[in-house]
Amino acid sequence: MRKILEIPLDEARPDQDAILETQGIPSGKELTEDVKALLERAIDLFLEFSKPKVAISDISIPGFEALYKGEGLNEQDTPLDEIITKADDLALFAVTIGERVSEEIDRLFKANEFALGSMLDSVASAGTDKAADTAESRYFDLLSEKGRITSSKGVLRFSPGYCGWHMSGQEKLFEFLRPEDIGISLLESYLMKPLKSISGVLVAGDKDIFVFDDSYPFCSECRSRSCHKRIRTLLKESRSDKKKGVM
């Protein structure tokens, strides 16, 4: 199965906390009127200029194991090494909200509208993440239609550049997935164009398989640690399964 889907804008609209986090504003902080106005304007611009799309393509577990080796530069021991072996289904994915938002951010900075430009950048980053969350649910729905997944299971994504998966993994991922069809190209530096894009693998399986101890040597260098929140969200409905790890 290979699918290209448009994501409705309301499903890519990010939550306020996710936006403000990139602006360095702590969750729950009372916003001043000028910041509230900026936020509203930036969300409007995001809705005007984004065109979220996702490409999803099934891949077998042996197929992914070969692809995951990439250029041989991954960390020696990674969470995915073990998670893949316990997974039911896998699919590669790439999402983008398109180039127009980045062009608008650029224009705003050039017009000295730094605060709005920066706020739009945060909305766009959080919106791309939200679009990737939607890719997870779409994959769940696709598997569900085929009777391959039940509500007690879950889908979680992993990306090159995270959790010991080297950035050079983008090369093989792109060869297989061909996200050029949704307008994403890969530069020599492994950067994707448009900038507001995310690539990776969607892993479907028992929720338990995703719980890992975040004490790998590379975890200390990770600036994002988004695994905590994502795994917690996935396990929300089965908190009794709580184990030692990123919970």
Partner: protein
Amino acid sequence: MDILKEISVRLQQGDDERVCELTRQAVEKKVPPRAILDEGLIGGMNIIGERYKAHEIFLPQVLLAAKAMYAGTDVLRPLFVKEGMPAIGKVVIGSVQGDLHDIGKNLVGIMLKGAGFEVIDLGNDVPPERFVETAEKEDAAVIGISALLTTTMPVMKRTVDLLEEKGLRTKIRTIIGGAPISEEFAKQIGADAYGYDSTNAVESVKRLIMANESD
């Protein structure tokens, strides 16, 4: 209120229109342009920088103030045509070759200008040769390089190496920053400083310039 103080206060409130108006009034009242710049505009931005560092205000307020500062300096610029806008130092900045991510570098540039530096922004995807040639031609004291992904980090080293080859390592200092960069990496490639964020970058550039002046 003293007009310079009022410029500073309005700037801190991010009121760009009022800052523009007050700067014009100050010029008409024959307040020396240098004083308007240093005490009114840069003075206001310095307070903003301090309050940001103390987490009393956040990025949006800093950027609204920066816009107000630019509105004021636009009024002053024609008055400095002959000698050029006074600056505490010249910095060439850009995102490393292979990188299209601008925002981090833009924020650093805005804060540097706010602190009174002249900033030459080369944009993104900048090869080492262009950084070095520009810095040499413009007689800049510092080159600042930003990166989003680890994969472009080796090109940062090439810029430092190129300065070394040309015998410019002690004349032109380097600062690097961006999400995947660390202090350790900066040391490893021989960069003179690492900037964790935009305010920290300004402090580091000031230190680099002071060190160069005392050499």
